[in-house]
């Protein structure tokens, strides 16, 4: 296997990796700005300079010449070279700033150049705290500035498009954003205009940067030049904590991080997963964070003489059990949900089976033509494939209608969805039958007919797994706390929020904005026990283990296997 020597340490490599990527993969940190693993290599920031040499070979024999100690003699390149663009070769020797003063000096000088016209507005810059330029300046840069002239003033607060704002002065012209629009999203909406000290990225005249993936340029911008119009000045990065999760706006299961402060989700950023979304996230996935914060219910409610009234959890469970128990099991309509996790749907299936009802059906949320064949799908719910694999089928509205008219629906149990808003029923039609509803929001139109309304935890508050359209099973971690105590959630929270902000043990812990809701996997066993069934509480991890054991469609889908990047399930069609 070919070998390379970096700072006198030998590494074996395969294929033909670029030197910078190889170093980063092997824990040899090198400062860089313009290089991004998913984009082309322009080598224009000049920050990743290293010294590169090749061993001297005897012209006749082709043997590597060695010195008296048996070490290969290296002929170093006349100048430093950008490691991002160097193809590695057998026997190559590399000196980084760790072993070369020349490289160290070059990196320091280069940063001084980059900072010549960079405004020192870090205290008010959104990027501060997670800014590669800031971090690398602290680490590799000069101690002060020798620049005594007026800095170049470039356009600031330029609205490039509906979601992205430009600060031209902060830009270091790495061209990551223009390369993203040219190579990844292919919208070609950005270009670098002007020249020399005057240049900055811009849309051409008459064009608006409205690319459906436009906000990715904010993530890859190594400085604070491109910021989110929505998130600008909302929070400092160190006040927030983030948890790894997936987006639930559509069925792609794109990996993301939910950023939370004081139990409010403030933004959603992509999390790299080569199997699904690489480094990217569509804008529509990020725009939905407000629904985790707004119009959330405050505790369970029971219908009394004066409409829905607040109740405590025990009373609500008991009422739900009572209503279900009073109906003939086979006449209860169970509705699963592509919004709910696999575990929640599975428990609902079990409950339906125990009561002798037909298996749950789910309400599809497909908008034909909404998808783009990449990260935006037609299906606007995250878990339709998970439902399908559980045997939960799309609901047949004609059949439901026929049963309703025949008086064969004696009760309705709807999991985390809105049958009225989706047009399955009119609220008046189900007014007279008992309706148990797990709901995310107070705007749920089925609440008008609900007899027991149980606030359910959303993806940012629960533990569970989802199966993407492509059959990729992934688990989520809780990003924010809910009111009340759940040991499983609390334990998971300690794992998901490694920074431990927002846990009860740190000074950022804040009880404000905690939603009084519970995950459905906690509510369903309580209701089942009220019906006389012997159900023990189980964590989603245990439930998923059970599912993976018993259902072939979920073979291997345990939490251990899923890890942080998920597991690709076997196609259902190919199962024996």
């Amino acid at each position: 296997m070919p070998k390379i020597t970096i700072d006198n340490k030998e590494y074996a490599f395969e294929g033909q990796p670029k030197l910078l990527q190889f170093c980063l993969d092997h824990g040899v940190e090198l400062p860089h700005f313009c290089y991004h693993p998913a984009l082309s290599v322009p080598a224009n920031c000049r920050q990743c300079l290293v010294e590169v040499g090749m061993p001297v070979r005897d012209r006749e024999t082709g043997e590597i010449s060695r010195n008296d100690d048996g070490e290969p003699i290296v002929r170093w390149g006349p100048k430093m070279t950008t490691s991002c663009s160097v193809d590695m070769a057998d026997g190559m020797a590399v000196r980084t700033h760790r072993s070369s003063e020349l490289v160290e000096q070059a990196q320091r000088d280069n940063l001084e150049f980059l900072l010549v016209n960079h405004p020192l507005d870090c205290p008010i810059c959104d990027q501060a705290g997670h800014c590669p330029l800031q971090n690398q300046t602290y680490k590799y840069g000069p101690e002060g500035s020798r620049f005594e002239f007026r800095k170049v003033q470039k356009p600031k607060k330029v609205v490039l498009g509906p979601r992205v704002m430009l600060d031209g002065e902060r830009c270091i012209n790495c061209t990551r954003c223009t390369r993203f629009t040219d190579e990844v999203s292919k919208s070609h909406q950005l270009t670098i205009i002007e020249r020399g000290v005057k240049n900055y990225p811009m849309t051409p005249p008459g064009e608006v940067f409205d690319d459906p993936y436009s906000m990715n340029v904010i993530d890859i911008c190594p400085v604070g030049a491109l910021t989110s119009i929505d998130f600008r000045f909302r929070a400092r990065i160190w006040e927030m904590s983030s948890a790894p999760s997936i987006t639930v706006t559509n069925a792609k299961g794109a990996n993301c991080s939910y950023w939370v402060r004081d139990n409010l989700v403030l933004r959603i950023t992509p999390r790299a997963n080569p199997h699904i979304n690489d480094y990217w996230l569509p804008d529509e996935d990020r725009a939905t964070y407000a629904r985790f914060n707004e119009q959330r219910p405050d505790g369970p409610r029971i219908r009394g003489d004066e409409g829905l009234q607040p109740a405590d959890w025990e009373t609500a469970y008991a009422r739900a059990s009572e209503l279900l128990g009073s109906a003939d099991g086979s006449n209860i309509l169970f509705l699963g949900s592509p919004h709910a996790t696999v575990e929640d749907n599975y428990l609902l299936c079990k409950l339906a089976a125990a009561l002798g009802a037909s298996p749950p059906a789910y309400i599809p949320h497909v908008k034909p033509g909404a998808g783009d064949g990449w990260l935006i799908t037609d299906d606007k719910a995250p878990n339709a494939e998970g439902c399908r694999r559980l045997g939960v089928r799309p609901v047949d509205p004609a059949l439901v209608r026929a049963r309703l008219e025949a008086g064969e629906i004696a009760a309705l149990y709807a999991l985390e969805d809105d049958p009225v808003a989706s047009g399955l029923f009119q609220a008046a039609e189900i007014q007279d039958i008992p309706v148990v509803l797990h709901t995310y929001h107070t705007t749920n139109e089925t609440l008008a007919a609900a007899d027991v309304a149980l606030p359910a935890a959303m993806v940012v508050e629960t533990v569970g797994s989802y199966v993407s359209e492509d059959g990729h099973a992934q688990r989520v971690w809780p990003a924010k706390a809910i009111r009340g105590v759940n040991r499983t959630l609390r334990m998971e929270m300690g794992v998901s929020r490694l920074d431990s902000h927002g846990t009860p043990f740190d000074r950022w812990h804040n009880a404000a904005n905690q939603v009084q809701c519970k995950p459905s996997w906690e509510m369903l066993p309580n209701i089942a026990r009220g019906l006389g069934l012997e159900w023990a509480d189980a964590s989603p991890k245990e439930i998923m283990r059970e599912i993976a054991q018993h259902l072939g469609a979920f073979e291997g889908a345990t939490y251990e296997n899923m890890g942080s990047s998920g597991v690709r399930l076997t196609e259902i069609g190919t199962l024996a």
Partner: protein, 224 residues
């Protein structure tokens, strides 16, 4: 450039400008399209032909407002944004209407030392306009230019991206302006080295429209 050092402000271009040319005017003739196709055939990718296409468009339309840049990009089948970036990069592509004759007076280091600014200021006074402005009759635009690569014959200027006028003096500028007003563009001048006069008989080019012997440049009266 000196203005930019004192006031280093980059302004935002008009992001939704009114088009200068109507739809009917914004077309290439068949012959021009053929020419552009020939440019494109010279390179592996159509992007590479953008500069020659711009040149052709600038000769046709006089300057390159956004709609002309878009026309050039569409004709080549390349993204508008890329073409716009290229057009704004090069100062020789005029993004705004200029005078019939654009006088690029070099004020870079060598020319400045030999009187580049003297010449520029003299022109400003003579034509009664400031650097970057156009005369009312639309005949002349004066610009300060960075190095045009003719330091040996400093101070010098270039007429509308075309012929150079070397070894400038006030008298030579007077003559140049008069000639241009009469519609006479200066010829391409080949400047020879003075030391070649004795040994090589001047070593003059036979294909040049005019030749001139190099001379020791003067020293500047003012610097900026």
């Amino acid at each position: 450039m000196s203005d930019f050092i004192k006031h280093p402000v980059v302004s935002l271009p008009d992001r939704a400008p009114e088009p200068v040319f109507s739809k009917e005017e914004l077309v290439f003739t068949e012959a021009e399209k053929e020419q552009i196709e020939a440019f494109r055939a010279q390179y592996p990718t159509p992007e590479s032909a953008v500069m020659k296409t711009f040149w052709l468009a600038q000769e046709k339309f006089g300057f390159l407002p956004p709609e002309v840049i878009r026309l050039a990009a569409d004709t080549l089948g390349i993204p508008f944004s890329l073409a716009y970036g290229v057009a704004t990069f090069y100062t020789q592509y005029y993004k705004a209407q200029k005078g019939k004759y654009v006088l690029d007076v070099c004020t870079c280091f060598s020319c400045q030392l030999c009187g580049g600014y003297d010449m520029l200021r003299y022109l400003e006074e003579k034509l009664d306009i400031r650097e970057g402005e156009t005369t009312e009759d639309g005949l002349f635009t004066i610009q300060g230019a960075e190095c045009l690569g003719a330091c040996g014959t400093a101070p010098m200027l270039q007429v509308t991206n075309g012929p150079y006028v070397h070894n400038l003096s006030r008298e030579k500028l007077d003559a140049l302006i008069d000639a241009l007003k009469a519609g006479k563009k200066p010829p391409f001048v080949s400047v020879t080295l003075p030391q070649d006069e004795d040994d090589l008989g001047g070593n003059r080019r036979s294909d040049a429209e005019a030749t001139e012997v190099g001379q020791t440049p003067p020293a500047a009266e003012t610097f900026e």
